[in-house]
């Protein structure tokens, strides 16, 4: 247990030592800040303009376009860089087991991802119409809560995917690019919305794994669809399982 904590701590601090962590932070906060500004404008608009589900605007196309790049950037160095510099050898010859190594890296990565979202908690008082005097929320809080749950689990899935790909390739750059393309599969259909026939069979198939559609229809409206929760959790666990196997297979080369 404690060796794992040691590794988590080192991996987590490594994000704050390299520039990538800060670049991701800056871009992410800029985009969410801008989207919050747009939501705020609509929420405080006079007349018939307005928005019923502000989270739909916070987590929309623009957000997903930027989000597409974040998990690859966060996970690209995790195994690929260790392979490139040779430090994987020093890690694999310690008394740590393979699953402990994978778990530590994933948890460190997830922790950094959570840290990315923490500053957005500042927007909560506005999004929830918090009355400072009584501490009561003016609107239904569930859309906000389910959206946060959704981004956490969806993020875990994409990060696990990125971790798997990082363990399979030799350089961080290739890991980032391949993760990007694989993540695209999960996000791309979300941008075709205007053209797609929502009653057709193709749409129904795509809907299962297209993450932006899940958010648009369910999470940002306060709905929790267990199909989507199962997808995120099971895919994340499956990718982690494959990563452990991939690490193990390195010893058999």
């Amino acid at each position: 247990m404690r060796p794992t904590l040691s590794l988590i701590r080192r991996e987590f601090t490594a994000y704050f030592v390299s520039p990538i962590g800060y670049v991701v932070f800056a871009v992410f906060l800029t985009v969410t800040g801008y989207l919050f500004y747009l939501s705020l404008e609509l929420l405080t608009a006079r007349g018939p303009r307005g928005i019923s589900f502000p989270m739909q605007l916070m987590v929309n196309d623009v957000f997903w376009l930027v989000f597409l790049f974040i998990p690859p950037l966060l996970t690209m160095r995790l195994f690929a860089e260790e392979r490139a510099t040779g430090t994987l050898e020093t890690l694999l010859t310690t008394p740590l087991r393979d699953w402990q190594i994978v778990a530590s890296k994933f948890i460190a990565c997830l922790l950094f991802y959570v840290c990315l979202w923490i500053p957005t908690l500042l927007y909560l008082p506005v999004l929830l119409d918090l009355d400072w005097a009584t501490g009561l929320v003016g609107v239904d809080p569930w859309p906000v809560l389910t959206t946060y749950l959704g981004v956490f689990l969806a993020g875990a899935m994409f990060l696990a995917l990125g971790l798997l790909i990082s363990s399979l390739v030799k350089t961080p750059m290739v890991a980032a690019l391949v993760s990007l393309f694989v993540s695209l599969v999960f996000i791309l259909a979300g941008f075709w919305r205007p053209d797609m026939d929502t009653s057709g069979a193709a749409y129904r198939v795509l809907y299962f794994f297209t993450v932006p559609l899940h958010f648009e229809r369910n999470f940002s409206r306060g709905l929790l669809d267990t199909r989507q929760l199962v997808l995120y959790i099971s895919l994340a666990l499956f990718c982690l399982f494959l990563t452990v196997r991939s690490l193990e297979s390195r010893r058999w080369r």
């Binding site: 404690r2 060796p3 904590l5 040691s6 590794l7 701590r9 080192r10 490594a14 030592v17 390299s18 510099t85 040779g86 430090t87 050898e89 020093t90 694999l92 010859t93 310690t94 008394p95 740590l96 087991r97 010893r251 058999w252 080369r253």
Partner: protein, 313 residues
């Protein structure tokens, strides 16, 4: 302490290690000597659990390296070739992290850190970022890392590679010191290193163990092949020397301006005056008379070239 029997490792069709067997007794420093590509690193990686052998068996401290890999790794301190480190961390930070991974915590960790840093002379660079250190210091950090768990066995892959002569000397001194408390298996292709630090040597070439003996044995064999070399001006008939007592072999060689004769004899001290005397008797112009002992390097080249086979111990 370390027992390896019939280890084989294939990378696809290429046999990196073929039927390697050797033993490293506890408390000794054993040098793994071989040209580049001989299979030294591969064997060491199999011992540390980084690779698995295609066939064969290896045990360290009684535990099988394949079946009890994690337990074996607890008893080993490994320093990989070219000593890879996390260059963005500080020395102290890195060693604290490695101690944590190896299960060392709290006050023990602090004491252990002080101990290894003092042992590997890293005191001055404790707070320096590893990326700014020279190669010599980085190797020392790697060595300090290997020492952290106070393992009974140290496996060092080319510990003096890329160092300058002063650093090489201090590293060898350190290894000799450590050899008093740990069992050390180190690999190298520098013979003087073997001569200066190791108790015995295993010579490996093209994946096979070619020789395995203690250093005294090897020097003794080198001594056996010693001979007396006499250089003469002009033409000389070798038969003139054939009758000398104690002469086991005589080989002539033509050189520009004269002849060189090699006298092989068990007793070189008494042969020299005899050769001198005979030369003066026959009126030959003796230009040079000297003993010639093959250096360890000649032995090594001959062994790995396959010209000479040595007896295994």
């Amino acid at each position: 302490m370390i027992h390896v029997s019939h280890l084989v490792k294939y990378y696809g069709d290429y046999a990196a290690v073929q039927d390697v067997s050797f033993d490293v007794p506890a408390g000794q420093i054993v040098g793994f000597l071989g040209p580049n590509g001989a299979g030294k690193s591969t064997t060491m990686r199999i011992l540390t659990g980084f690779l698995t052998a295609t066939s064969g068996k290896a045990t360290i401290a009684g535990l099988d390296v394949f079946w009890d890999s994690v337990e074996v790794r607890r008893r080993i301190g490994y320093m990989a070739e070219s000593c890879p480190l996390y260059t963005e961390m500080r020395v102290e930070e890195y060693l604290r992290f490695r101690a944590g991974i190896k299960g060392i915590y709290g006050a023990t960790r602090r004491r252990r850190l002080d101990y290894v840093i003092q042992r590997t002379w890293l005191g001055d660079v404790r707070r320096q970022i590893i990326g700014t250190l020279s190669k010599g210091y980085r190797q020392r950090v790697g060595l300090a890392d290997a020492l952290l768990g106070l393992p009974p066995v140290l496996i060092l892959d080319e510990p003096t590679a890329g160092l300058d002569p002063t650093q090489i000397r201090s590293t060898r001194e350190l290894i000799r010191e450590l050899g008093q408390e740990h069992t050390i298996l180190l690999s190298t292709h520098i013979l003087s290193e073997v001569e200066m630090t190791c108790d015995s040597v295993i010579i490996i070439n093209k994946g096979k163990v070619v020789a395995s003996c203690s250093l005294e044995e090897l020097t003794r064999q080198a001594g056996e092949r010693a001979c007396l070399v006499a250089t003469f001006d002009g033409l000389v008939d070798p038969d003139a020397f054939r009758g000398l007592p104690g002469l086991t072999a005589l080989s002539p060689e033509t050189i520009p301006g004269g002849v060189r004769l090699r006298f092989t004899t068990p007793d070189m001290a008494s042969m020299a005056p005899l050769v001198c005397g005979r030369a003066v008797e026959r009126g030959m112009k003796l230009r040079e008379l000297r003993p010639e002992r093959p250096t360890l390097e000649d032995m090594f080249v001959n062994i790995t070239g396959g010209l000479v086979g040595t007896r295994e111990q």
